[in-house]
């Protein structure tokens, strides 16, 4: 099932923050994890991840540093993103917002169908 572009776009930021909350990751890694965890249902345009990451970095929600990747070719460096304190606060706010929003939408949509 294809999700609407608006839904996908709106979920990018909380998803990135949630993943970075677990551990620092680089861009391609984030794409792979999202695809794997969503069972292929969330198919992001890979490029769209980077403007989002750069926006988050510009807003101080994440920081980045270059480091050698644990896996892959030895000596090859990746740009790792780390969530900041401000990013964690934003993630909590977005999570709560999503929970309230989904409750409200569920009550209307699922309740109406029932």
């Amino acid at each position: 099932m294809d999700f609407s572009q608006d839904l996908v776009r709106g979920s990018i930021v909380p998803i990135i923050l949630a993943l970075l909350h677990e551990r620092p990751m680089y861009g391609y890694q984030i794409v792979k994890v999202v695809n794997a965890r969503s069972g292929g249902r969330l198919e992001w345009k890979e490029g769209s991840l980077y403007p989002a990451l750069h926006s988050l970095q510009a807003n101080g929600l994440v920081t980045a540093n270059w480091a050698e990747a644990a896996e892959g070719t030895p000596g090859r460096q990746r740009k790792y993103y780390h969530i900041t304190r401000k990013g964690r606060a934003e993630l909590a706010r977005r999570g709560e917002e999503w929970r309230q929003f989904s409750l409200a939408v569920n009550a209307i949509l699922l309740g109406g169908m029932a």
Partner: protein, 735 residues
């Protein structure tokens, strides 16, 4: 070869205004494409197919380029401002910081002590605004410096007195300057100036009727110009000097050429000796000026104050001595003619004159003159009474002479002469403190202030080296930017964590370590800089070399790592095993430094003329070692950062390194200058505040600081005794 070169250029083209950010984004997208293509390859696709699919998976290039630009637009603006600051503002700010440290070190004392006798550059330096207007009103400045148009000290003194004609101190100061200006070393006051001198002194006596100064100097001029006093070639007496040798001194003889004027002089002298006190108005003026001036806060201000008041002028004391000699010669002459009462009166006046000077003065030179007059008076009294046949009184005068001389010589033999270990005194005190008996002072604050100043000079040397390096690299980078259209050097930002690490390891730790070393008194710092100059210089040069070495090395590593992240070709990291000879040489230098500091430095090296000459060595290992350390630093620096390591293919990196080093060096100057400059300045101020008036010792309190106060006490005691007996009648009936 990168198969996505054109795609990446297309995606990042709009970020080109910030070359570092563009390279960073390009490298990030490239690593993504590489990872993606690798996965396609693992799925069995060909190299070309994998590359094409990876590019396709990235999405629409135009849309992505626009999104990337939108996402980074804010950062581009902020980074633009920061880059501009780093390129344009940091170096001037570093220059301002160095100027502030230098100006702080100079202090802001509002006294033009160098007026007219300084080189032009020094005068210009001293005339900087806050020097001349700091904390003083225009009126206070006028009292200190006089009008700007005044060319001589006499003109200044007259202008100050003219502005406040009723002020006795200002007028007295002018009178002293007039007397000094008209004093001829060959013959005292020229005869045609006598009336003018008398009028000036007369006016002074009206303004300050309690001060004997004006009457006594009127008497001096009247007597000295109305007689011819000379040494008697046929009679002399002998005294033992403080070195233990007997010295022969001749008696005085006199020919009175104008008896009436001579008696007028006697009348003036009687009038003066009846006044309550006898002080030098120029000294009073100096005290007034010192009270106007704020207490010094910096060592240089202390030095200004010292130099200002050391120049306090004394009235023509030689004329005063001439008056004493004339009185004594007149006593001998009267005795020869059998006029016992007159002779006795002259002796009495001569003694009162010397005692009055000795009991009232705070100045050591005047006290020595009074002592000399006292001895001469006793000697002439003995001769006078001998001539009058009054053997008993002659014997008493001789006993007094021997007792006064022995007491004076005894002062010099006081066991308190070496109260303070000269090695602890510091340079200024060692230079300025005379070898006076019982001299007492606390050398700690001034010694401490000198160490702070030495460290401030060390800091200035460090800042100057860093700034010179920044300017040199900045000039090279500017030339590169102007000459090249392509492959221009990039200004890279190494990141805050790396900057913090550089700051901690290259600046905070070395200075902190040195502070700990000082705190633990591992050096000879209980001794003054006069004793430890050699060692301190070496310590500061080593500290400077460590900071410079670490700063350049850590900055190089940080910039190299950042350039690597941006995908630039970089030279291999600097490793010790690749530089065996330099490492061995460095180890030898370090060992030699340690040896000098731990073994030789502890024995102390006193600089010539800063302390006892016989202990001054002719070779200073610390200075020699400092030169070796500086040479090693320069050679290793040139070898590392301008040498073979940056030949092709690393030319591009070298240009980036030079350009990126400039803001780091300038920032190091600003941070180090602000924090250390402030800290050291505070330390110096605190030390100088503890000095408390030491600057004022030379002219106005040196008697109180030495055993010579005992001599002054004798004069005060004798003055009390003399006050109980009436003045002799000589000149009583003369106007």
């Amino acid at each position: 070869m990168n198969p996505w070169g054109q795609l990446i250029d297309r995606l990042t083209d709009r970020l080109a205004v910030d070359r570092e950010l563009q390279l960073d984004v390009a490298r990030e997208l490239t690593t993504h494409l590489e990872d993606s293509a690798e996965e396609f390859r693992r799925a069995g696709e060909s190299e070309e197919q994998a590359a094409a699919n990876a590019a396709r998976a990235l999405g629409d290039p135009d849309a992505l380029a626009d999104q990337l630009w939108q996402a980074n637009r804010g950062r581009l603006r902020i980074r633009g401002i920061l880059r501009w600051t780093a390129q344009v503002a940091l170096v001037p700010a570093a220059i301002v910081v160095i100027a502030a440290v230098l100006l702080g070190l100079r202090g802001g004392y509002p006294v033009d002590v160098h007026r007219g006798d300084s080189p032009k550059l020094v005068s210009l330096w001293l005339s900087l605004p806050w020097h001349s207007s700091w904390r003083l009103t225009a009126e206070q400045r006028f009292i200190l410096d006089g009008p700007a148009e005044a060319r001589t000290p006499l003109e200044r003194a007259k202008a100050i007195s003219d502005r406040c004609p009723e002020n006795a101190v200002f007028y007295g100061n002018y009178a002293v300057y007039w007397m000094a200006a008209n004093f001829d070393t060959a013959g005292g006051l020229p005869p045609h100036k006598l009336q003018e001198a008398l009028a000036i002194l007369d006016h002074g006596a009206k303004l300050d009727p309690n001060n004997a100064f004006y009457d006594i100097f009127q008497a001096t001029y009247l007597v000295v110009s109305s007689c011819q006093s000379s040494l008697d070639p046929n009679a002399s007496y002998s005294l033992v000097s403080r070195s233990g040798k007997a010295t022969t001194r001749p008696y005085q003889q006199i020919t009175i050429t104008d008896p009436r004027q001579f008696q007028e002089g006697m009348a003036c002298l009687r009038r003066g000796l009846a006044r309550p006190f006898f002080t030098n108005p120029a000294m009073d003026m100096m005290v007034t000026r010192l009270e106007l001036m704020p207490q010094p806060k910096r060592l240089n201000e202390y030095f200004y104050r010292l130099r200002f008041h050391v120049g306090a002028i004394l009235p023509p004391i030689n004329d005063l001595r001439e008056l004493g000699r004339a009185l004594l010669a007149a006593a001998v002459a009267a005795a020869r003619q059998g006029r016992a009462a007159e002779a006795s009166s002259y002796l009495d006046l001569a003694e009162r004159l010397g005692v009055s000077l000795g009991a009232n003065t705070d100045n050591l030179v005047e006290l020595m003159v009074a002592q000399n007059m006292r001895l001469t008076t006793f000697a002439h009294a003995q001769r006078t009474y001998d001539l009058l046949g009054q053997k008993e009184q002659a014997a008493r005068a001789y006993r007094d002479l021997l007792a006064a001389n022995a007491a004076f010589n005894g002062l010099w033999k006081s066991d308190k002469t070496q109260t303070v270990d000269r090695r602890q005194s510091g340079i200024l005190e060692a230079l300025l403190t005379p070898s006076l008996p019982g001299y007492r002072f606390d050398p700690g604050p001034l010694r401490s202030a000198e160490y702070y100043v030495a460290m401030e000079f060390g800091l200035l040397a460090l800042l100057a080296c860093l700034l010179a390096a920044a300017l040199l690299l900045g000039a090279v980078s500017l030339l590169n930017l102007l000459r090249r259209k392509e492959n221009r050097p990039i200004l890279v930002f190494v990141g805050w964590p790396r900057l913090g690490r550089i700051c901690l390891l290259a600046v905070v730790l070395p200075f902190g370590g040195y502070a700990l070393y000082r705190f633990l008194a591992a050096g000879n710092h209980t001794y003054g800089l006069n004793y430890t100059f050699d060692q301190t210089l070496l310590e500061l040069v080593v500290l400077l070399a460590v900071v410079l070495g670490l700063l350049t090395r850590l900055s190089y590593s940080a910039i190299r790592r950042r350039a690597e992240e941006l995908g630039m070709t970089t030279p291999p990291p600097i490793r010790l095993r690749d530089r065996r000879w330099m490492a061995v040489l460095g180890a030898i230098v370090a060992l030699a430094v340690l040896t000098v500091l731990c073994v030789v430095g502890r024995s102390g090296f006193m600089m010539k003329s800063w302390t006892v000459p016989e202990k001054s060595p002719s070779f200073f290992p610390g200075i020699a070692m400092s030169m070796v350390v500086a040479a090693f630093l320069v050679i290793s620096g040139i070898r590392e950062y301008f040498g073979a390591a940056f030949k092709r293919p690393h030319k591009s990196f070298r240009r980036t390194l030079y350009r990126s080093m400039v803001p780091i060096l300038a920032a190091a100057v600003i941070l180090t200058g602000v924090f250390l400059g402030w800290g050291l300045g505070r330390g110096e101020t605190s030390a100088i505040e503890r000095v408390k008036g030491l600057a004022d010792f030379t002219a106005i309190s040196e008697i109180d600081r030495t055993d010579f106060r005992l001599l002054k006490d004798q004069f005060i005691q004798r003055q009390r005794e003399l006050a109980e007996s009436p003045l002799p009648a000589v000149g009583e009936n003369t106007k």
